[in-house]
Symmetry: C2
Subunit: 150 residues, 2 copies
């Protein structure tokens, strides 16, 4: 099974900005990853969350949920990179940031099958990421990532 705290420690060791943002992985289940971060290290000059922190957290969340999804299904030798992202900033986030990253199960399974069959070297897949503060929906991202086997 997936040890989320080990995965978080590895990510924080390798990506120093995650430490700066104090990003934590809270839970992973059924192709859905939940993360959170405090406001203080991610604040801007208006006293709300810096858009750059929001984008950074969401991009990482998409990569992380995919890495966990493939690992959960026995594929551990993936290389995953982001290719495109579209973000909408709906309203200012005025405190603690809660983030949910979700892989659509039908798309993920098709991608996993094709990867395991080896019929495609590089495959694209979508991740949806949403950011909340106190159940207020503050930002949404669609990320297109690319996966291949190392």
């Amino acid at each position: 099974m997936i040890d989320l705290s080990t995965f978080e420690a590895e990510c924080r060791r390798d990506i120093p900005l995650l430490n700066a943002m104090q990003l934590s992985l809270r839970s992973y289940d059924n192709l859905t990853l939940k993360l959170d971060a405090p406001l203080a290290p991610n604040i801007n000059n208006k006293g709300t969350a810096f858009g750059g922190s929001i984008a950074s957290i969401c991009l990482f969340a998409g990569w992380a949920v995919a890495t966990l999804g493939f690992t959960e299904h026995g594929v551990t030798n993936t290389e995953i990179v982001v290719y495109q992202s579209e973000m909408t900033f709906l309203r200012p986030a005025r405190g603690h940031l809660d983030v949910v990253a979700h892989l659509k199960p039908s798309d993920f399974r098709e991608c996993l099958d094709r990867l395991q069959r080896g019929s495609d070297k590089r495959l694209r897949f979508d991740v949806r990421i949403d950011l909340y503060h106190d159940d207020e929906h503050c930002a949404t991202m669609r990320g297109i990532y690319v996966v291949w086997l190392k």
Copy 2:
């Protein structure tokens, strides 16, 4: 005139993530802002620039060039927020990050005129941001920002 080092110091004071990324403002001229950042604080687990750092730097660059553009034209009481962004990650950035944020002059002048006339309370405008390493084009962003007078 615009004192870029004072502006950078204020931004770094108010947005702690800019310090974490060691982002520097290099020059501003004619609606174009150049920034840079070292790889080390922005590295990922592949030894290249973390996509989250790239997105964060680009989003800030768009906000900063607009703030400087309006200030240069005598409008200092602006509130500027990002509304949407579209990013494409073209290739990994394997070292020092050089960023160029540019406001299209004709669009900016129309936005400035309407803002000064007071005919619109909130106005949208576009910023184009490009990120390079060693003259290799690594990422491009189109940001839609919203401006109003405080």
